[in-house]
Symmetry: C2
Subunit: 716 residues, 2 copies
């Protein structure tokens, strides 16, 4: 019937965005905001004093530094004098998955150690705590001859960094890393204490940790108990950290000044326009395509049985999470005015640089040099992205690490790939020797998918594809490798590692042979990338950042790099559509959301939580939002009050914070956290973990012999 | 400090929209949707059969027709065989306000009649129930000579309508109205039974009826108990309606087919582009300006004392509500692609018309004629909008009605302004004789604001402004009139009405004298408008609509006109941002929203509701959304299941439904309703109104003598 003749119209651009992904349209923002992921050597003291009347002291900053725990891609903090560490369930997920079996599904069912003896060792979790840091910019740059070729400069730079790391490691016994900040304008030596004996204490059921599933992921209002507790041991005893944060009984108040301290992974805020255009045209679209295909393959595998579902759950969630982010990033880069505004800002900076002969002499050509590097990269990015095997296929990843480890250690430290430098070898070994289970059938699915995508994109005549497939079908290759290899057995891996390059050369293990065959192609491409792109981005990006310092002073923060950062902000709701979004949610809200969907998945509540409904103070806080500047990697970061009590646990940003990848904005963008009050209430009223709650609230533990319970707590 | 040098960006266009008003960007929509506000003579039977497998019968439609109650700007329905009527609290607000005193604030505190004798008569509430309807297009159009001048055609058209009304009223004793549908393509005679003895039975506290206040208005998820009960009496006894709807115990289910039956007021979906452009450039911006100024004046008055606040509350809410809508409408007209798409649709229709000589002969010039009329209107719209005194200044409104009534009844019925035709005189008298309180101080504020705006916009030399102010200041004129007049006394009004035109001519009452002086200027402008704009829009709009019928058949619905309509749809949530919005909210959600804002206004919960928290089934439904097509005027409409049980009570649309003024879209647009289960639960567990709940559930009443409790219930 002709109802279409009635003028009918679909949703607005805004509504389309609202039903899909964020289409950002950034505009210059002149309001003051709680922007910044500050390094601890350069806290925003002036801003804090002006805006909040608060002045951080050196001692206060040190307490933060020593209380924060680096999870390598995630964050956490000490929350008792007996080595108890709090992080997110989704940061712990990978370990939970590795600790689970077909009989004991700790991901689904949670894990609850009532005594120290029940605490379960993690297979391959290494934690780091930053002990000290020093700037080494001069030392690194002095080693680089700007008149040399880029390849030479690249070697010089890497060699200097390796040298500084080794010297520092040897003199301190700590794990030392030289990191780049401001895209190469500064180099810093960070010294970490490292822990390898980490035991799981408590994790709730995934369904309450990740309540609302993929739809609610990055959403707010939110109702997640995204937490997990580990305990750090040394010499078989719980450690007594130099600093720890006591959980606040009540959680934060509205408008309270809070601090997030953690390890934001990466942002693109200071990148040049040509770098962002590369992301828009090449990197982001490719990642989306790759992950969509990967997710499909993994879901087909998971659908085959409940055990397959269990095995694949962390891969599924990881890809789902990344896809949501990548799609949003691509929308922001493609459809919003972001790039136009970045272009304007870049032109303005270049014009200012041009007016100062001294600054211009150093960096006026830097933008064009980076643009040339990006142009070169466009010619090889598909090789780079499609020849990269998915690390979540563990057998493949193990083989690659073993083959490369044994080859790299043959070379002088200064000439190795970064991850095989002496400073990182213990960590690499720890991972290779992990006793975590391997799932050859799942690895085959992932590997076959990688190979299929590589062949489809690079073509069957690409040297890597040719070598990888040898004329066979991807799934045949993948099955043959994963079924034939013996490196799933840790003792086999140990033999190969100890046998070194000779053992690898002699090995007939099909996976080792296969990786060995691909290795030269890998090395060529990686070296090409480092010499043609990475080094240019770093050297020239460093010049641009130094020009900014020269023009505007040093009162700024670097793009996120996974190093420890401090983000101040306040606890505050926001306006959305035409109404108010509250600063916190309550347990009432959890039960509302579940009953509003008639309890259907992913809005179902685990039996244990539902059963506690009558006991819970439903008006108590559950999650809250704050303006603190975060990004992926901040997951598990403590939210601290001025007195360094822990009021919350960061676990997400809302969709309006997707744009923070490129520029901070607090109109609606928010970090999302679990309230400390919710953590305590759940331990006491849902999980019968009163000992753990007591330890968090008193700083003492009944379950672990408290050898120095009165010592060194920093949150008193 | 130079933090602004860090590239920083404000919210996206989408986020800006999300924090302000809806910026719509309509695009052609080809999905099937539950569009349409159908007249009961032309239900969408084919669609219903195809989509839902449901065929409405004649008897089913009659039950709806006789169960629905017209509130004149609002909707309602019979919900017991003893004349009980359910509508929204905000539809009842005007009566509640008029019934309240400084001592008894029924708006704030609610009203609860436990027995029939406690039911309180409303001062001036007239309800109508549609008895029958017949098309009279031929009779009206036969009376219009298309070769005559527009002024003559206007007279002919109005005369024909008046004649048909009078004939029908005399032959049936009912209140008969001729209405236009499809912008003049059809004329229908609607015959109503009218009720003037309406008594208030129950209304909850405003704070739970309008929970969340202005921020949550038009928002969803929502938590309002926006309900009120009246009982209709005749000859001192409750009436026994021909049809009524029994409240469903449980409310609707997700995806259930439901029907909204009510009185949508006005939509602009079939208007021509020139009409929409007039709205965009003139009507909407002016209304916003006027209302913003009015609201400011009323709030200044209200701030003076709690009693002033009480007196002004309904005006404040009314303007606040309109402003939110008007601002959204303006955004949609200005910033979205709506108009571009309307232009395309109009061009396409004109092209099709041009291809058919017969249709073209009738209407090819219609668009241009309407455009000419709009152009003329642009020359006088400011006079029209600024000389229009705000009816909420009751003393002014009463004086206008009395002066015009006595003048109009001197003329033959056919020549009068529409609202003074014989068919409407009893209603007019009922309102003039209302014993509702008057507040001269509030009226002075409103009148002074109208006069100030008129002088500022039209200038001091505008004839109307000159006459109205007589060289004095607006507030002096307003105070002198409102303090000097005696028409606040109903007996004075009665004397003037009975004295007729002579009494008016002889009156020295300052308000009467003042209105009398303005009346000729009013009459000139109104007649000009009717002859130059209204009649053109109707005659030519009718031709365009008939062209549509000729090309596409009659399977469509007319723009809303306040007449009874049926809107089918389904109970369904939607996607927003990247997550799911549930189809219903629960009582858990109410307590969550309140505690999430730490109970601050407008998120506070009335004491009585809070006290019942332990008794309530918190998992029970509170509000829900459905795709049924509604607009302002539908407030109070029943949401009916296929079996005609009442599952909900419409009280709002969400912000994504603002665009429904111009085009329906169900991607996110939704009608918002109170669940019948929430109504019943609140009566029993919060308000101790078990008798009322029993009456709703059983169809019997203990509080009113049930003279025919077994009779004529239609929802059995």
């Amino acid at each position: 019937m002709p109802r279409s003749k009635i003028a009918r119209f679909a949703a607005s651009a805004f509504l389309a965005a609202a039903s899909g992904f964020v289409i950002a349209a950034f505009a210059p923002n002149t309001i003051r905001a709680d922007e910044g992921m500050w390094t601890l050597d350069n806290p925003p003291s002036k801003i804090l004093q002006e805006r909040y009347g608060f002045a951080p002291t050196k001692e206060w900053l040190e307490r933060i530094q020593h209380g924060c725990v680096n999870f390598g891609g995630g964050s956490g903090s000490f929350v008792s004098p007996n080595g108890l560490v709090l992080t997110n369930h989704h940061v712990a997920l990978n370990q939970l998955q590795k600790m689970s079996t077909a009989e004991h599904n700790y991901v689904r069912d949670g894990f609850f150690a009532k005594t120290g003896s029940e605490e379960m060792p993690c297979p391959d979790l290494e934690l780091k705590v930053l002990q000290s840091m020093d700037e080494v910019t001069k030392q690194v740059l002095a080693a680089v001859d700007p008149r040399a070729t880029i390849a030479v400069q690249s070697s010089q730079r890497k060699a200097a960094m390796a040298r500084l790391e080794t010297e520092a490691s040897q003199s301190t016994g700590l794990k030392c890393e030289v990191i780049e900040l401001y895209h190469g304008a500064e180099y810093w030596l960070y010294r970490y204490k490292k822990y390898n004996d980490v035991r799981l204490v408590m994790a709730p059921e995934e369904q309450i940790a990740f309540y609302g599933g993929d739809p609610d992921n990055f959403s707010y209002p939110r109702h997640d108990l995204d937490m997990a507790f580990f305990r750090v041991y040394e010499n078989g005893r719980p450690v007594h950290p130099d600093s720890w944060f006591r959980l606040s009984d009540a959680g934060p108040s509205e408008n309270e000044l809070v601090f997030v301290a953690g390890h934001p992974g990466a942002t693109s805020r200071l990148k040049t326009v040509s770098q962002l255009e590369y992301e828009r045209d090449c990197l982001r679209p490719t990642r989306i395509t790759q992950q969509e295909s990967r997710l499909k393959a993994i879901r087909a595998y998971a659908a085959e049985s409940p055990e397959n579902t269990r095995r694949a759950v962390d891969r599924d969630r990881g890809i789902e999470n990344n896809l949501k982010r990548e799609r949003a990033f691509l929308e922001i880069l493609k459809d919003g005015p972001l790039l136009a505004q970045k272009r304007d800002a870049e032109s303005a900076l270049r014009a200012r640089v041009a007016k100062d002969p001294k600054i211009a002499a150093d960096c006026s050509g830097s933008w064009d040099k980076i643009a040339s590097a990006e142009k070169e990269l466009r010619g090889r990015y598909k090789q780079r992205l499609y020849r990269d095997l998915d690390r979540s296929a563990r057998l493949v990843n193990l083989a690659e690490n073993i083959v490369r480890y044994t080859a790299e250690v043959q070379k002088p430290n200064e000439k190795r790939f970064r991850e095989y430098r002496d400073s990182n070898l213990p960590t690499m070994k720890f991972q290779i020797y992990s006793k975590a289970p391997v799932f050859p059938d799942l690895d085959a699915v992932i590997l076959a998918n990688s190979l299929e995508q590589a062949r489809a994109t690079l073509g069957p005549n690409d040297p890597w594809v040719k070598q990888a497939l040898g004329g066979k079908e991807p799934m045949d290759v993948a099955k043959s490798l994963t079924q034939g290899t013996r490196i799933g057995d840790p003792t086999v891996r140990k033999q190969l590692m100890e046998g070194g390059a000779e053992a690898i050369a002699a090995s007939a293990d099909p996976m080792i042979v296969w990786v060995r065959g691909l290795d030269p192609i890998y090395r060529e491409l990686r070296t090409w990338y480092e010499d043609h792109v990475e080094t240019v981005e770093s050297l020239e990006g460093g010049r641009i950042a130094r020009a900014r310092f020269a023009l505007d002073g040093h009162s700024t923060y670097p793009d996120a790099t996974g190093s420890l950062r401090l983000s101040p902000g306040k606890v505050a709701g926001y306006k959305q559509l035409t109404t108010d979004v509250p600063w916190k949610t309550t347990w009432f809200g959890l039960f509302d959301r579940s009953t509003s969907f008639d309890g259907r998945h992913p809005y179902d509540i685990p039996a244990r939580v539902a059963a506690a409904r009558g006991k819970l103070d439903l008006a108590g806080p559950l999650n809250f939002v704050c303006t603190t500047d975060i990004i992926g990697g901040n997951s598990g970061s403590p939210v601290l009050g001025k007195d360094l009590s822990l009021v919350g646990l960061i676990f997400d940003g809302n969709v309006q914070a997707f744009g923070w990848e490129f520029a901070y904005d607090d109109a609606q963008g928010r970090a999302v956290a679990v309230s400390s009050a919710a953590i305590l209430q759940s331990l006491r009223k849902i999980y019968d973990m009163n000992n753990l709650a007591d330890e968090l609230q008193s700083g003492r533990t009944a379950s672990v012999p408290a050898t120095s319970a009165d010592a060194s707590g920093s949150a008193h």
